[in-house]
């Protein structure tokens, strides 16, 4: 063991850099990174690395898809077997779910609660150029293309996969639904409202209901209930019957509808028609932030 330049200089530099890191974390805690000095730094980093990332992504994408496909052959075979069984089971339930959805739509129409995701909303299509260290997505569109913090992000099957948490001029970062601190307010077709949180795992989310919980049937699909996101975006389904404890459901396991086991090649970003501040509620969800707040949702 040795220190090349001897004495205590490296230790001193080390201590200074550690302190500097903590100062930077303080900036982050104050959520000032979107503006001012830190915003300039983020834009600078994106300007420096963005073109390189785009170039490498464009060159390596076909090769990566090929290698990734080969690497997952075994996994896919195993998944295929279980999916065939699951498919037969789910097919039987689809009819029941469809009937319930129709009924809910009719009830919503009666109550004038149409989805805020209007059909004439043109989603922004963005190429996924990579992944962040936290498992989020790096996308090749930013503020210049109208991408802003808080916007919901869908995959090609139009299923909710996350939210934009950071933008620079030409790049943005999407935090995925499965990331640990993420929380989304959802409701079931029969009107049960709860919170879905990420677990850090690709095929697992947690569902909680604070009060008024009742049994949730297996196969129930949960969709966004508004609160900063457009209503009606499908998020997850109950893999098994969820039984409440008292009038609460705490951290019940549900399965995301979107496939998070591999990164999408492109995503759809839904512009918010109404700013989240205009929603009628002021409820705050633990672990979530308002969509305009610039934070991880």
């Amino acid at each position: 063991m040795r220190l090349r330049s001897g004495r205590d200089t490296p230790t001193f530099v080390f201590i200074v850099l550690v302190l500097l890191s903590f100062v930077l974390m303080t900036f982050d805690a104050q959520r000032t990174e979107q503006i001012g000095f830190v915003g300039v730094m983020r834009n600078g980093a994106a300007a420096l690395f963005g073109p390189l990332q785009n170039g490498v992504d464009a060159l390596a994408d076909p090769f990566f898809e090929f290698v990734s496909g080969i690497a997952s052959v075994t996994t896919l075979r195993r998944q295929n077997d279980s999916l065939v069984l699951e498919n037969e089971e789910l097919r039987a339930r689809i009819q029941e779910v469809s009937r319930l959805e129709l009924e809910v739509e009719q009830l919503r129409a009666l109550l004038d609660l149409e989805s805020k995701l209007e059909l004439d909303t043109v989603p922004i299509v963005a190429d996924v150029t990579g992944a962040t260290e936290d498992g989020g997505l790096l996308i090749a569109k930013g503020a210049e293309q109208g991408v802003f913090v808080g916007m919901p992000v869908l995959n090609d099957a139009q299923l909710l996969i996350g939210r934009v948490v950071q933008t620079t001029e030409r790049q943005a970062v999407v935090e995925l639904l499965i990331d640990t601190p993420n929380a989304v307010i959802v409701d079931s077709p029969d009107g049960l409202t709860g919170i879905i949180t990420g677990t850090g795992r690709a095929a697992e989310l947690r569902f909680s209901v604070e009060f008024g919980a009742r049994e949730v049937a297996e196969g129930t699909v949960f969709s966004t209930a508004g609160f900063g996101l457009p209503r009606g975006l499908q998020v997850a389904f109950a893999h098994e019957t969820l039984t409440p404890l008292g009038d609460q459901i705490t951290d019940a396991r549900v399965t995301p509808l979107a496939d998070f086991s591999r990164l999408p090649r492109y995503v759809l970003i839904v512009p918010l028609i109404e700013p989240p501040s205009s929603t009628t509620t002021t409820t705050t969800v633990p672990g979530s932030e308002p969509a305009t707040g610039g934070g991880s949702g």
């Binding site: 063991m1 690497a71 936290d134 640990t180």
Partner: protein, 168 residues
């Protein structure tokens, strides 16, 4: 040109390439490794400490981490801190013996994972009780060790001072 400066210049270029590869390719290539991926930047910072000046190694670690923070959506300063600790540990553990330098990647990577989880937990990102910590601590250091064995010859060619390269 001063060989030390040349080595630092080359290390900067290698780390920039490492950051681009990490964020565009390696972070996406997780299917075969239990949903985890090796950390090329950590490996480069550890191994670079063998050839560049101690202060430069620390600054390289800090700057690389800062760029990863700026490019990602996580806590600003988290990876800067983590890679500074990695660089310091790399300086402490590096050796003239190549095998020992490569082997040192395993414990330092483990340290990096622990630092990241502790600071992440303090900053409210997840919790230390997550099963992910155990998975990451078992898998990522091993992946990094394999990666280190692969990139060591390349780094040796790029960063070793010319005089020494001719002697060896």
């Amino acid at each position: 040109m001063n060989p030390q400066r040349l080595a630092v210049g080359r290390a900067i270029v290698l780390l920039m390439v490492g950051i681009v590869l990490q964020t565009t390719l390696i972070n996406r290539f997780q299917d075969p490794f239990f949903g985890l991926s090796p950390h090329l930047v950590v490996v480069l910072v550890i191994l670079s400490a063998r050839w560049v000046d101690a202060r430069a190694a620390l600054l390289l670690g800090f700057t690389s981490g800062l760029f990863l923070d700026l490019l990602g959506g996580g806590i600003l300063g988290l990876r800067a801190l983590m890679l500074t600790v990695v660089a310091y540990a790399g300086l402490r553990m590096t050796s003239e013996l190549p095998l020992r330098s490569v082997a040192g990647v395993w414990p330092i990577s483990l340290l990096a994972e622990v630092v990241q989880f502790v600071i992440g937990t303090l900053a409210g990102r997840g919790t230390l009780l997550q099963a992910e910590l155990l998975e990451r601590s078992l898998v990522v250091p091993v992946l990094n060790l394999v990666l280190a064995a692969l990139v060591f010859p390349l780094l040796a060619r790029a960063l070793r001072p010319r005089g020494r390269r001719q002697m060896v």
